[in-house]
């Protein structure tokens, strides 16, 4: 038996003669990196790639059991969760891996943007990266459909509604999206084909191209204030810098990538193990309508934006927004392909990142709390706190019952419990006179429906009598300033 090291060398030579891959891999590992770029800030790209690998592996394992059929998908998810040994863990890995991947891709994007790495000659690397981001989000959306539950069903409905607003071709587009006239078997198998074949294929191909360009052009050097990028001499400057300060990628930078990859996989595993898989929630039965559909975390901001758009603006916004978000990203390296790379000399870049991060953060937070949604069961489940009925007259208590029974609570809170669609009514009497309350309740307005047809005069009287007692911390009630000057029919309509 020969020395195993010798044997290994021979095997390597044998493979290399036939494929040339060993030599190429070695050249890739040895490619010179400016020593400043062997930094912890440069680990996110490879991190995203490692997560993609994790998603491919766990995805294949799930596809072995998952049934991409609308009649069986939900049951097969339950089977994976509850009957298959460690099936729940595989689903959790895939779900958490997806969230981590989007997060890391976004961090990678921000880092590359702030480090000016998209500038000449790496414009195309950035453009391919933008498409990689879009494909990653497309994977997340189609993956949300794979978890075929109520949220997935109505989520596709939201997608179809948005698609249907496209002028002229809305109808064929909706049918292409659904694979037929309704959300059904064909819809799920369409999304399955996209999620499992089409998008991952494009993703892997573009990752290859992205990586090829990184190797060809070299890793972006650590930006320094005053080191200005010019098309005329950048490549020469970069080559000189790399000649002077270049270190082999492996092991000088690669060890950080490797440590980060391990830490990240451990984090995904920990989240999967301790927090478990996402859903599925209720079964995708369109006749079970007692549901409040909710998109996954990274789409919550869109869900929130859609709640706040004025009705007339909605369709123009939906049609223009994708272009308004994607086009600037695609055009960025061509509009700002030269100049300063360092963030300290790019205040607009810092401002843009801050603005976008704060905006997305606020909308995501709103999406988690959905203050615009009525609390559908508040009227039957949230009792009026005792102090809000204490010392009230029979008429006022009758009004409290009307308040509860007519579902006012679904949109208005009292004592901090109830919907937040409309204002809290704890101190409504300090803001509105009885006349104003009657008008508001019967005619609606300001985003409140009119209850004229749903309330009898007696109910209205009782309701307003009750609302009249809600004056917060014993504040003075609202009065009509004109009431004292000109009595109507000899009585003061308000001051009682």
């Amino acid at each position: 038996m020969k020395n195993p090291v010798e044997l290994g060398k021979k095997l390597r030579a044998w493979i290399d003669l036939r494929t040339g891959l060993v030599q190429q891999a070695e050249e890739m590992a040895d490619h010179p990196t400016p020593s400043s770029a062997a930094s912890w800030w440069y680990v996110f790209g490879s991190g995203a790639m490692v997560l993609l690998g994790l998603q491919v592996v766990t995805g294949i394992l799930l596809a072995m059991v998952y049934s991409p059929s609308a009649s069986n998908a939900w049951a097969s998810l339950q089977f994976i969760n509850h009957n298959l040994p460690l099936g729940w863990y595989l689903r959790a890995l895939h779900g958490w891996g997806s969230d981590f991947m989007i997060a890391i891709v976004l961090i990678h994007l921000v880092q590359v943007f702030l480090f000016g790495a998209y500038k000449f000659p790496r414009e195309l690397t950035w453009v391919v990266g933008v498409f990689l981001l879009l494909l990653t989000l497309a994977m997340a959306f189609t993956g949300q459909v794979m978890r075929f539950d109520t949220d997935a069903y109505w989520g596709i409905g939201i997608g179809a509604s948005i698609t249907s607003s496209v002028p002229l071709v809305g109808k064929p587009l909706v049918r292409l999206l659904l694979g037929g006239p309704i959300i059904g078997g064909a819809t799920l198998s369409h999304f399955f084909a996209l999620h499992v074949f089409v998008i991952p294929g494009a993703l892997l191909g573009l990752v290859g191209l992205h990586l090829l360009m990184v190797l060809r052009l070299g890793i972006n050097e650590w930006p320094m204030p005053g080191r200005i990028v010019r098309r005329a001499d950048y490549r020469q400057n970069y080559a000189a810098l790399t000649r002077k300060t270049g270190v082999a990628f492996a092991p000088n930078a690669a060890w950080k990538d490797a440590v980060f990859a391990a830490a990240m996989i451990l984090a995904v595993m920990a989240c999967a193990w301790f927090f478990g898989p996402f859903g599925p929630s209720g079964q995708p039965d369109p006749t079970i309508i007692q549901t409040a559909p909710h998109p996954d975390f990274f789409f919550l901001w869109i869900y929130a934006v859609l709640a706040f758009l004025p009705p007339q603006l909605e369709i123009p916004f939906l049609l223009a927004a994708p272009a308004l978000i994607v086009l600037p990203l695609l055009l960025l390296p061509f509009l700002a392909g030269e100049g300063e790379k360092h963030w300290s000399r790019r205040p607009v870049a810092i401002l843009v990142v801050t603005l976008v991060a704060v905006t997305l953060g606020i909308f995501t937070n709103l999406g988690l709390h959905t203050p615009w949604s009525p609390v559908m069961d508040a009227w039957s489940s949230a009792a009026i706190p005792a102090r809000y009925v204490k010392d009230r007259t029979p008429l006022e208590r009758r009004g409290a019952l009307v308040f509860q029974d007519k579902q006012c609570r679904d949109c208005h809170s009292i004592g901090g419990i109830g919907g937040r669609r409309g204002p809290a009514l704890d101190d409504i009497a300090t803001r509105m006179t009885v006349d104003q309350m009657v008008r508001q309740v019967l005619q609606g307005g300001g985003n409140m429906p009119a209850y004229g047809k749903a309330l009898s005069p007696a109910e209205t009287t009782a309701l307003t009598a009750y609302l009249r007692t809600l004056n917060g911390n014993h504040l003075a009630p609202a009065v009509n300033p004109a009431a004292g000057i000109e009595p109507v029919n000899g009585t003061h309509p308000v001051a009682q």
């Binding site: 292409l176 369109p286 006749t287 985003n447 429906p449």
Partner: protein, 227 residues
């Protein structure tokens, strides 16, 4: 381990074995004249493949966009919701039906829900359950006589007209008729903005075209009217 000898570019151009010497015919075939003829043949072959590819693509494209090119009439048909006495006068009632076009793998998704409002003995309104904002399922609240949407808080009055919130219009309304003592609707597609079968403005309850007795007079014509 990177031995440059292994790459074939580096290896000497002369064959070491005389039997590997190129024959005159082989050398002649590599002449520029032959090359130009072959490059023409190659272009021809590429063109031929382009043609074959186009012919190949037509039915593939037909398969892919088939569902998109169908007419509404291919999907829509009259579906029975239930006999008239299932819908009490003055009430808004939850109803469900199985979509007229189904595929073997639809499972529960073939079931569709809708809201039936019986105004009086002869007049009905049938609303899609899908909110006219983004399609979430609206719920009927009998006491406040409102439909409320759980997603973004769209609200509609009992006649389906918009009350408040982000929707731009009232609820989608199905065309309906009374046939053999049963309430039927013209259904078959997910109600969206682009969908003519359901994209009708909420009707005035007393409008003549909403009188089911009148619709009965011409069943077939009514069946095709919105298709």
């Amino acid at each position: 381990m990177s031995d440059p000898k292994h790459t074939h570019h580096e290896i000497a151009a002369e064959a070491t074995d005389p039997r590997w010497q190129a024959t005159p015919a082989e050398v002649a075939a590599a002449a520029p004249a032959a090359t130009s003829r072959r490059s023409f043949l190659f272009k021809l072959a590429v063109g031929l493949n382009g043609l074959v590819g186009a012919v190949f693509a037509v039915p593939i494209l037909g398969y892919l966009i088939g569902p998109a090119t169908k007419k509404d009439a291919d999907f829509n048909s009259w579906v029975k919701l239930g006999s008239l006495d299932e819908f009490p006068v003055g009430k808004t009632h939850f109803a469900e039906y199985v979509n007229p076009v189904v595929s073997p793998s639809d499972g529960e998704t073939a079931k569709i829900a809708c809201w039936v409002r019986r105004i009086d003995a002869n007049s009905f309104q049938v609303f899609a359950v899908n909110c006219a904002h983004l399609g979430c399922p609206v719920r009927w609240f009998e006491q406040s006589r409102l439909f409320l949407c759980p997603c973004h808080g769209g609200a509609y009055y009992e006649d389906g007209s918009r009350a408040s919130g982000p929707p731009m219009r009232g609820l989608f309304e199905y065309q309906h008729r009374v046939h053999n003592g049963a309430l039927e609707i013209l259904a078959g597609q997910l109600p969206t903005f682009s969908n003519e079968a359901c994209n009708r403005k909420p009707q005035k309850p007393n409008a003549p075209e909403n009188n089911p007795l009148r619709v009965l007079a011409d069943d077939d014509a009514a069946g095709r009217r919105d298709a």
